[in-house]
């Protein structure tokens, strides 16, 4: 039950009879009479209002939405009673589902159905739920409302934003260049011979295959003349390589850098790298790990890969436990047998915190090409450059110390045979993709 502002006004209007009738009869009695009248009217109104309990509710929600995108959650309200239902409805989504409007007017004539549409613009990854729908039904006198909360569960999966997908076209263009599909041909170590084709103006003259040209000119030319067509070799980079991405979901991944947690940056990097590597014809396997495997995508290709990845990543939040680095070599062994590119999305901070990582790294580097993708904190750089007064100088010194620590750890990783790529949260995904392309171009995979 709820009352409206009109009821409050009605009670307040009692001042008129109380004052006006005070000469004729005791004011206290008038007051009591007025209050009784108000309550009787409210009860009458309640009795005449359509019952919100009788409503039939149906939900139709988009099953998934990418973070920062907007989805529709529709609620169908059927009024089986003989009275018109007037009032308001609230679909109680979790706050981070970003539901607007939060409450809406409701008018359902008897026996009819209405759709209530809520726009969802979530600002947090994972599964956003709603459980209750609250309906208020107003009486014809507009004095009182019947209220009921009805359990109609619903959920929407909020996928990672994949904001770095804007970097994908330029990287794919680079990949095509590598692939020999454009006129520019790169011939590098480890690239594979792809095909022979006719020379067109602009091709690198170094890639002319004289032997094939000679063979071709052996036969009669199109119009009887020989030696008119030069043949060039095209190359394509290695294909069918294996890329293994391990994302750390331990306590350090919960750290928020420039308004993005480390795990989100790692997911972005993983998505961009996977999209790129998949187009390049490589196999991508991903595992999210802290002390147990929180999510794993293996053997998926093409559009399926990205879909599976975002589905897997959506509900994973960092756990507040220390990652067990010593088990990572075993995890990688279980995912691949051939030499692979192993990308570790892990923080490189202080030597102390990274000891576990450094200890297990040699086991990986002997078999695989290891790349550690670490997020650096732009705030550290800012603090290091800000030296106006005494406190800020000490702060800058501490920031420099932290940067130095990170550098030392990176140097240690390099000494152990790994490779390091670092960047601010927004720069890291393209940097990882670029490093992958560099490997590809150099034939190091």
């Amino acid at each position: 039950m709820a009352i409206t502002g009109w009821f409050v006004l009605l009670v307040a209007a009692g001042v008129v009879p109380v004052v006006a009738l005070s000469t004729a009869m005791p004011a206290g009695l008038v007051l009591l009479g007025w209050l009784t009248l108000c309550i009787v009217l409210a009860c009458l109104d309640l009795a005449l209002a359509a019952s919100p309990r009788a409503l039939r509710l149906q939900r139709q929600t988009d099953s998934r939405v990418r973070l920062t995108d907007t989805a529709r959650a529709t609620l169908f309200v059927t009024n089986p009673s003989r009275r018109t239902l007037r009032g308001a409805i609230r679909d109680a989504w979790e706050p981070s589902a970003g539901a607007t409007p939060k409450r809406q007017r409701l008018l359902v004539p008897p026996g009819e159905r209405r759709a209530i549409v809520t726009q969802l613009t979530p600002w947090r990854r994972g599964e956003r739920r709603t459980a209750l729908v609250t309906v208020r039904s107003r009486g014809p006198l507009r004095l009182a409302e019947r209220q009921a909360s009805i359990r109609v569960p619903g959920a929407i999966t909020v996928l990672p934003e994949f904001a770095s997908r804007k970097h994908l076209p330029s990287r794919l263009a680079r990949l095509r260049e590598l692939d020999g599909r454009t006129s520019v041909m790169v011939r590098g170590q480890g690239t594979e011979f792809d095909s022979l084709r006719e020379y067109v103006r602009g091709d690198d003259v170094r890639s002319i295959d004289w032997r094939a040209t000679a063979r071709r000119s052996g036969g009669p030319g199109p119009n009887g003349r020989a030696g008119q067509t030069l043949m060039v070799r095209t190359w394509r980079p290695e294909r069918d390589r294996h890329v293994v991405v391990i994302v750390d979901s331990g306590r350090t991944a919960a750290a928020r850098i420039a308004d993005e947690t480390r795990i989100d940056t790692a997911f972005e990097s993983t998505l961009l790298l996977s999209a790129l590597a998949d187009r390049a014809g490589d196999r991508v396997d991903v595992a999210v790990y802290d002390r147990r495997v929180r999510g794993r995508v293996q053997g998926a290709r093409g559009a399926d890969l990205l879909a599976k990845l975002v589905e897997t990543m959506a509900p994973i939040d960092p756990e507040l436990i220390q990652t067990d680095y010593s088990a990572i070599p075993g995890l990688v062994r279980s995912m691949t047998t051939q030499r692979s590119l192993v990308v570790l999305c892990m923080p490189l901070e202080s030597p102390g915190a990274t000891r576990g990582l450094l200890t297990m790294l040699p086991q990986l580097t002997t078999r695989h090409l290891v790349l550690v993708a670490a997020v650096t904190d732009p705030a550290l750089l800012e603090a290091a450059a800000q030296r106006e007064n005494r406190a800020e100088v000490y702060r800058a010194a501490a920031a420099e110390r932290a940067l130095l620590d990170a550098q030392r750890v990176a140097a240690a990783v390099r000494r152990l045979g790994g490779d390091v790529v670092t960047g601010a949260p927004l720069d890291l995904p393209p940097a990882v993709a670029d490093r992958y392309l560099a490997y590809k171009a150099a034939g190091r995979l």
């Binding site: 004011a27 099953s63 599964e127 909360s149 960092p318 940067l403």
Partner: protein, 417 residues
Amino acid sequence: MSAPTTDINAELSAVITTPTVRRVVRRSLYWGAVTAGLLVLGLILISINGATRIVERWGADETAPLGSRAVVDVLRDAGVDVVVTGQLSDTLAALDEPGTTLFVGDARGILDDEQWPQLLGVADHLVLAEPSQLALDALGIDALTAGPLSAGAALELVAECRVAAAVRAETIRAAGIGYSTIDGEICFDAGETGAALVELEVDGRLVTVLGAGSVLQNGEITRAGNAALALGLLGQHETLVWYQPTPADLSSPSFSELTPDWVNPVAWLALLVGLAAAFWRGRRFGPVVIENLPVVVKTTETMEGRARLYAREGSRLRAIDALRVGTLRRIAEGLALGRASGVDDIISAVAGITGRDVAALRELLVGREPASDRELVELSDRLLELESFIARRVGLDGSRDPHDSRTDPSPTGRMDA
């Protein structure tokens, strides 16, 4: 991972979480019954023991030690017609026939100087219990308050006068106010603090000022000759009017008399409107939604903590060394000296570029130990200045970002592996 939520389009059985009125009533029945039971129990206890209330001194129905029900009952048993009044008009109405004693016990000081004189000359015998000086002045009788009869314990006083009741009482145990008089008869004289009883004649009527008010109280009446004095004073005539002024006697108009009688109901109405408005605005539109949010861990906490530690301990050398290492690193990167280059290589390279003295550069970049925080700030400023100078010289200004992962010059992307 969570199950992918495909189109939820199923008709869901309506589970209504808001309880019906009937269920609310049924659920609250137990506690309602408990509350009602406790209320009833409390009422019963109050009706048995009596509620806490202010005990009125000389109250005719008061059984507490301060009251006077004992005297009144004994007088009634002895055939005296005791009329208890609480208002001046009732009192005057009760005094219409001769042969009456009027007892006035104005313990609360309610009567004012216009009401007191009306009590004079209406009864054969007027007994005033501990009247104030204001009352005596208003009555215009020959008596003055002298002082408190006792400090703490009651006094044992002897009659020593010609008042019959006092003589019969012989001695009393008195507590109250002492009075002095010029022409009147004094009994139970306590010396400097005045007498416990003064008897005067005003316009041919007897007026007794009883300073020892304790004589009439239930708690004291059995002591010494107290009972004899009380009964002797009050039982002389057939009728005794026992008048205790109540707030109804207040002559100044009360607040409720000055305001129209709708003011109170309107105030109540305002309160109820406020309550209704509170319910209107405060009624929740369904329960609060609970969401588990992830923890927010700030990465800069370690850095901030370390900075505070440096500042508190005054570790200037450590601080400046950190700054120097950063500067050296950035210069080495800016000059493309490679990661393996030592301090001396960097210094000589810097000297070559800037044309500054090697010794001075060495002092700045390695040697000098800041003795004070001021020196530390100054050194840090000079380091920054040197950095920006070199950056300008090399033409890297604006692109200086050592942590940017821009592609390394070597195609392998590695410099030292």
